[in-house]
Every structure is written in C-alpha cells, then in structure tokens.
C-alpha cells in the first residue's frame, strides 16, 4: 500500500479515538499551508510538461549537484542566494571574480558517493520548498533520489532546464545562449525578481552584440572546446565539445567549432589520430576541477605541434562562462579577444 493511500485510511481509523490529534497541515512548509499568496503571486511556471505554481518566493531552495554551477550562479546573479538552504553545485572555479568564493560560502550538503547527489531521505529532511536540478537524472527514483511528484507532495516545486528534462542522454536540440537567458527569466519570475533578470539579460545581450559587431567581418578561425580531465566516453579524447552552447558562443565571438561536424552528440569521442587530422587554430580549455589548466594546454600543444593553435600558443582558459549560466558574455568577450586581438 502506498503512503498516499495509507494516510486517509489511518486518518479514518483515527477519527473515533479522542486521543488521536488531528494531523496539523501547518507544520509542513508547504506553500499552500500558509494562507493567501504573497503580492505579485501566484506565479505559474511551465517546466518539462507540467506546471508549477508558486504562492510566494521560495525561501528554502535546494540545488542538486549536476556537475556544473549554472543554476547556483544564476541565483547568485539574481541576488537571491539567501534563499538557498543547501547547495550541491561547486567545483571551485569561476570566470566571475568572487563567484567561486560566493558559491563556497553557501550552505553545503553531503552527497552520495554511489550516485553523486542528494539522497531522497536527506532531500526531504532539508524541507525544501523549491528544488533545482540539472537533468531528469536528479529526480529519478531509480538513483535513490526524491521524484518531482514526491517533492510536490511535501510542498516543494521543482525546476530543470527545459532542454534536459529527460534522463541522461536525452538533451533536446543544441543549447544556445538564449537557454541561459530563459533560465534567468524563469528563475527571476519564481523569486519575484523579474526586473533584475531582465536587466542581466539586457546587459549580456548588449555586451555580446557589441563584440559580435566588432568581429563580424573577420576570418572565422577553427576553435577546439575541450574539458581536460573529464571523461565523457571511451576514446582517448572524450571531452571535446561538439554540439553545445559553445557553438553559439563561438559564432558570436567570430569563430567556429573545429569539431562541430564530427558527431550529432554533445561531446565527440575521438582517437588521437582523428584529433591530429583536424585543423585547430585556437583552443578553449575548460577548467573543470583542474589544478593546472595551463599545463593541460602545454600537453595538448606538445601532442599536436602542427596545429596553428600550437604554433601561436593560442588558447584561453574558461570555466563557468562557457556553458549554461548567467555569464556567457564573458566567454564571448574572452574568446573574441583571443581570436581577433587586432579588433580590440
């Protein structure tokens, strides 16, 4: 018997007995329990085929791990980090000064070694009213996580980027910088800070447009996007970005992904030979839990000295600005300056 069925039954059994106290709904931090919606609310967000209604801004947000920091960065950029009660996103680097430290200061939560995220018991005991994940993986009961339905049962709404609603390997289309804006816009509505969200989006758009205008007519060097130390597959080079938000970033920065055509997948799985055969004019090296990203660049160029990138020693180390998150403009600017220094 499921608990949801058992509860009414238990309640019915309780009724005749005077010793039985009535279950008090107010002890749950549910949004509906505390009466009328706050000013500006209710806000309803459509996410992954369901709609979620907020009666007030979430005050107990939990962020699940997911490997990257885009979601927690968005909350910090929106100025609502005070509403986080537990954050599992962190990898110690950021392209925004002070951001890594700001993430480090947030309340942490211990994650499972087996499945690398917050177990369902811990999740419920955090008593969240809003849980933000990265992909459908984060709400899959099979991994020992609380499902979106179960969280709704304790009054917690949930949110995922719309392109990664499904489980692993089910990314819809190729993300663009607009997906980052969409995340800011939706989270802005949830927390009642739409003005701030629109301001961030407008500022980013303006900065990116300025850069794109400067590099518009130049040549389009071929750029490699690589995350050293992250294994995405079996091949020797498994973390080469093929089809992701970085392609949009490169386009705005006046470049083109050298490996976009090799696969339809997000990451390319390539042997050393295949990598050697590709012309690479510049490298975007993603610092993901990497103690020495410059050393990684040296290693890469020593392996492929025939690349123009190696001859010119042309690379840039980026971290959280080069994928989903509030700071894509930084990536566009730094890549544009690397590819077209004469225009700046």
């Amino acid at each position: 018997m499921r608990f949801s069925h058992a509860l009414p039954l238990l309640a019915a059994l309780c009724l005749p007995a005077t010793a039985c106290a009535a279950p008090s709904a107010s002890s749950a931090p549910t949004a509906s329990a505390a009466g009328r919606p706050a000013p500006g609310y209710p806000v309803t967000i459509a996410n992954c085929g369901h709609s979620y209604t907020f009666d007030r801004a979430p005050s107990r947000t939990v962020l699940m791990s997911g490997g990257a920091v885009g979601q927690v960065s968005a909350l910090i950029a929106l100025g609502v980090e005070g509403r986080i009660v537990a954050n599992a996103q962190s990898y110690g680097a950021s392209d925004v000064p002070g951001r890594a430290e700001a993430i480090e200061r947030l309340p942490k939560v211990k994650i499972n070694k087996g499945s690398y995220d917050i177990s369902r018991e811990s999740m419920l005991s955090l008593r969240p009213d809003f849980v933000i994940g990265t992909t459908g993986f984060d709400f899959d009961a099979q991994n020992g996580y609380a499902t979106r339905q179960e969280l709704l049962g304790i009054g917690a709404n949930t949110w995922l980027p719309d392109s990664t609603c499904g489980g692993p390997g089910t990314i819809k289309g190729t993300q663009t910088i607009d997906d980052s804006y969409e995340m800011l816009r939706e989270l802005g509505r949830v927390y009642g800070v739409s003005g701030r969200a629109e301001e961030l989006i407008a500022r980013s758009r303006e900065r990116i447009e300025q850069i794109a205008a400067k590099v518009k007519d130049g040549p389009r060097p071929k750029v490699m996007y690589v995350i050293p130390g992250m294994e995405m597959g079996a091949a020797e080079f498994s973390s080469i970005g093929a089809n992701g938000m970085w392609n949009d970033i490169f386009a705005k920065a006046g470049g083109v992904n050298a490996f976009a055509g090799v696969t339809d997948a997000v990451f390319a799985n390539l042997s050393k030979e295949q990598v050697a055969r590709t012309d690479v004019d510049a490298v975007v090296l993603i610092n993901w839990r990497n103690p020495d990203p410059d050393g990684e660049a040296r290693k890469l160029f020593a392996q492929f000295p025939h690349w123009r990138a190696a001859r010119d020693n042309r690379y840039v180390v980026l971290s959280d600005s080069a994928y989903l998150g509030p700071d894509n403009a930084i990536a566009v600017e730094r890549i544009a300056k690397m590819l077209h220094p004469e225009k700046f």
Binding site: F3, C14, K110, Y116, S119, L124
Partner: protein, 332 residues
Amino acid sequence: MLRRIPLTVCLVALAAALVAGMLVAIGVGSVNIPLAETWDIVTGRPGDPVNAKIIWEYRIPRVLLAALAGAGLSVAGAVLQALVTNPLADPYVLGVSSGASAGAVLVMTLGSAAAGGLGVSSAAFAGAMLAALVVFALGQRRGRLTPTRLVLSGVAVGYVLLAATSYLQLQADPEELRKVMFWMLGSVAGAQWGHLPAVAVAVLACTAGLVLYGRRLNALITGEEPATALGVDVRRARVGLLVVSSLLTGTVVAVAGGIGFVGLMVPHLVRMAFGTDHRRLLPLATLVGALYMVLVDLLSRTVDRPAELPLGIFTAVFGAPFFVWLLRREER
C-alpha cells in the same frame, strides 16, 4: 551446536532477530528522526508529515526490499549449489546476474527502445531469463543436464554478457555511467511500495515450493545415480530448479541491481552453522539472508551519513572476512 537445535526453535529465534533488525533499520537512517516519533509514525499516529513520508514512503519499503532481496538471493544460491553440486555456484557464476546486468545497462545507455520498450527492471528480468535459457541449452548433452557443463556454460555466457555490458558502458555519457555504476553495485535506495508485491510473491512462493522439495534436493546432492535410485527424476528436477532460481535472481536483480556475494556466502554460512539438510537449510537461509541484507543496507546508509553508499561494496567487505573466518574455524 546449532545443528541439534530443532528447526522450529531456530526459525522462531531468527525470525525474531529479523523483526528486531528491521525495526532498528526503520528507526535509524541517513536522516535523524527521534525514535519516539518513528514509533508514532509506524503505529499510525499523526506526526510531522515530512518525517512520516520519509518513514512510510522511503524507509519501510527500503527495509522490506532489502529483506526480500537478501532472502531471494540466498535461496537462489543454495538451490544453484545443490543443482550443480558445486560449492562455488551462485547467480553470478551461472551467468544469470550478468544477463540481468546486460539487460538493465542496455536500457540505461541506449534507452528503452533498444530493448523493445522494456523499462530497466523488466529488461533486467528478461536478461536474466534469456541468460538462464542459453546456459540451460548449452549445459545439455544428449538431453541430459550435466552439472560441469552447466557451470562452464554459465561462466562462458557470463563473460560474453560482461563484455557486452562493458561495451555499452563505454558508450555512455557521465550521467548514464553514474546511473549504471549505481545500479551495478546494487542498492535498495530507490525502493518503492509498487515494486514489493512482485518480489514478495516470487521470493515467498519459490522458497515455500523449494522447502517442500527439500528431500529431493538432499537426494540430488548425493549424485545423479544415487538420486535416481532414490526415485528422483534428475532431469526434471534440474530443469525445475534452474527455472526457479533464475526466476528468483531475475526478480531480485531487477529491483535491487547487482548485489554480489550474498548468494554464495549465506547458504554456506547456514550449512556450516545449521547443517546441510535442505529442509533446514532453505528456510534458515531465507531468514539469515534477509537479516544480513537488512543490516548491510543499514550500514550502507549510516557509515557516511547523510550520504549513502552502494550495497555491493558492503556485502563483500563485511561478508568475505567473516566467511573466511568461519571457514578457518570449521577446519580446526
């Protein structure tokens, strides 16, 4: 010695230990809930709704699933050991677990379309059954099922399936891989009420049937000719036992993933302690297996609180040394 104690006494004592173990496992977990409140929730008094959900929706199904998984794997191991008259036999050696893994990993990495629309659990079950069928077909020689052939076919099929599983894993992206790893190491962390009835029916019905079959199992381990002389249709018995043990393994692995070593260790442990008569061995192995798994699961979610660790790590780390100690004591 424990061997002389009547079965009923052993059963009652072990059942009491199992109930006590399960109560402790419900009371303790990765999240602290006061024992008094847990008791209130379990006995149906209204408590904090979130804690009630943790206890009712998460812990109780989890503890029940752990008990059922432990019981099912132990019985399957005991039966397989009798079937192939080989002390090393367990669902892993016979290729059945590898079949389940291959099925589950296929769905996890390539999506359910790759397995004809089956979910992870159903694919695991189908994989186990298919592997058993192949092992069974290869294990026959001129219509006879011979133990040595059966074991060797099981090992061979297991290796092929392991290779297939490894290949699929290499195709996976990191999140899929995390999911696969988590599943392969075994866990009852995702237990849900909806999973329990099928497992409970399979484990209880198979065990009950096998206990009634205990005398013929006893005859079977004496060898093919003595068994035939004792009036056992050896071929039919072997087929039946293979089907039942595959069914048990498939059901358990489908919901709890690849939990190793239990099916090997628990039957031996019970034999050493309580004797080799299958009419004693099977019911006792059920209870010991259940208790062992409940305690292992409890450990897996308390040693690194509030994080949880996979079961497969603990079944071996705690089981193996104890097992070796028991073996050495036996030799003295």
